[in-house]
Subunit: 376 residues, 2 copies
């Protein structure tokens, strides 16, 4: 077990966040985060004591110009287990250890047992294509100890903690000097292959800048060079001026169905000030961001009265340098385009890289604004 | 109705293909293609006599640097109709007209009644983003008159006809001088939202070069500049040298699980000679390409003993110019990564643009080679 509780004092006006690091029996790392001091009241478990033997590799796709990750061991991973075994819940029966101990904590982060990338990936030697070690990291972020809950059920204070967790994982991975890019995300819904229903997200850390991030940075730089202003500043000003697509505006952060939404109810959460990383948000901005994000998730579930399957991705600047043009934001892709109707990526989306959307963003925003939400 | 039968003579050693053009009651175009002379024995129908009033628009996604298509009328489109009505089968009851007449033909192509792009899209005026008319075309390609069939059930001669149909539609759209790019594809499987089970594909024609095609061209040009040789020539030579990933090689064309496959059983069909469009294939190459494509589709269905859900995309060079570096090929994305296990595009695929694949291409190729196929 590692040293004790590390409280992070954010500001005089905000309670500190707490974190404690552990090592699992199989050698993987675990960090517990909480709004209150962390207390663990059982052994730190692992589903299997065997060390993870991951040898992920990357091969170069010469026509798409992107890396493809191969982790041939991943196919055995947990898939829709029976309700009596939930690897993301605290262990109650030591004969069937899960990933997490019992105790006092809100959010847990551990290394994925079936990683597509690891910091210690060995050199694979020569191969049939341009090939190299799959260097990076894959982490699991458990949002809550409650198996039946949703991310949206977190309190705004817990959402604030989650923003801190995402920022802290990013900072820790940057400190390894092996990582250039971190993508935090949540993929939710059995409709899109989610294997565990306990509320959780993931993190992929890459040793290079992947295509979407590279494109976003390139485009944001182009806009800023052309207009003399950060893309995010102009975007927020124009959205506030029109008001048509804003779902909630809390001053320091706002949610909007962007005028170029690719999914019918696509929602972005942005800070009002152009920053490029979560760690740059001040306490008031973090509170606003947390509140607006929770609000956006609640609206998606309320829209059709079902748990909306969705992908949530957190877009931050590349690491290991200063990229002030990059606009920090969260993208939410809801997969229902109407009640009971999924959006699938077919020919034009996958074969050409262009989306067809049935719904105008202005209409989607109005529908999302009109759903009845309880106060929180 | 338009002028009569237009036989295409391919070579002295190959029977001619036949085609006839029609106009539907609602004004949309229809072309019937056949290995034998076309004969129509009923009226040319349309599900509704009302002219299509499509006003698709495109908006610019500033951070992805791509167009997004909006066709707000598309949501009403046919969805899993009851078995008694199949809009892609020949009309039998004039009180319930379908899209196709009765008669002698193999393949039918008509303009989509719910297009995301049209050649006559009106200027939408100013909008909330960089916005313009959704100029292009969306066509439906019905592979067979048999509702319960599969694309793989076509004879090799009919596959040869289909290659001709894809090339002919491309040439016709290029002749409009409004189209820069044509993507022919088939999206199959209720698992991926296919609304009609009658075997059919689609075509999207764009008035610009979309991102995937632009990237492929840029990458192929880079490789050729670096090596002095077309990408496709080196690829075919290396795959033949290794043999590990080839499924079938018919001299003029071959199928292979590429060493950089993004989907577990991803299969590419390529000509052995570097050409950039289907129209450049000679008769023997077209026969080989047809046979290898049919073989690849049969293997995917035989692999797990179920109809494999998949996306098939045909990659040809941009139009309106000469792009000899662009490698003509077909990409097949099977969506099952194991029996009963779908591959979904989650965080790393959508948020970063990089795929995680559970299976090494060499292993996938071996499994696909080992399935038992009947002679054809």
């Amino acid at each position: 077990m590692m040293p004790g509780d590390r409280p992070y004092v954010q500001s005089a006006h905000e309670p500190p966040f707490h974190a404690r690091d552990y090592v699992k029996p199989d050698g993987r790392s675990l960090t517990l985060y909480g709004l209150n001091p962390i207390q663990v009241t059982s052994a730190v478990p692992s589903p299997s004591p065997e060390p993870v033997d991951a040898r992920p590799v990357m091969r170069w796709h010469p026509l798409r110009g992107e890396w493809v990750m191969y982790a041939a061991h991943r196919l055995g991973r947990t898939f829709l287990p029976p309700p009596e075994y939930n690897p993301l819940a605290p262990t109650t029966d030591p004969a069937h250890p899960t990933e997490l101990p019992q105790g006092e904590y809100d959010i847990a982060v551990f290394q994925n047992r079936f990683p597509s990338l690891t910091l210690s990936a060995p050199d694979p030697g020569p191969g049939p294509a341009r090939m190299r070690a799959g260097v990076g990291a894959c982490e699991v972020i458990v949002f809550s100890q409650r198996p039946e809950g949703r991310l949206a059920d977190l309190t705004t204070a817990q959402f604030g903690l989650l923003l801190h967790v995402w920022a802290d994982r990013t900072a820790r991975l940057e400190a390894t000097r092996q990582v250039r890019s971190v993508l935090c995300f949540e993929n939710r819904g059995v409709e899109v292959g989610v294997t565990l229903h306990h509320p959780h997200g993931q993190l992929y850390a890459y040793d290079h800048v992947p295509p979407v991030q590279a494109r976003q940075l390139e485009q944001a730089r182009r806009v800023q060079a052309e207009t003399g202003e950060p893309w995010l500043s102009a975007f927020v000003r124009e959205e506030r001026h029109s008001g048509e697509r804003i779902l909630r505006d809390e001053g320091g952060a706002l949610s909007v169905v962007p005028p170029f939404a690719r999914y019918s109810y696509e929602t972005w959460v942005l800070p009002a000030r152009p920053v490029s990383r979560l760690s740059e948000l001040g306490p008031a901005e973090r509170r606003a961001f947390a509140l607006v994000l929770k609000d956006a998730l609640l609206r998606l579930d309320a829209l059709f009265g079902v748990r909306m399957p969705y992908l949530l991705t957190v877009h931050q600047a590349p690491l290991g340098g200063s990229f002030p043009e990059f606009p920090l934001h969260v993208e939410l892709y809801p997969y229902l385009r109407a009640a009971g109707r999924m959006k699938y990526l077919a020919g034009t989306e996958q074969g050409a890289g262009e989306f067809a959307n049935d719904k105008l963003p202005e209409v989607a925003a109005q529908e999302l604004r009109e759903v009845a939400l309880e106060e929180f």
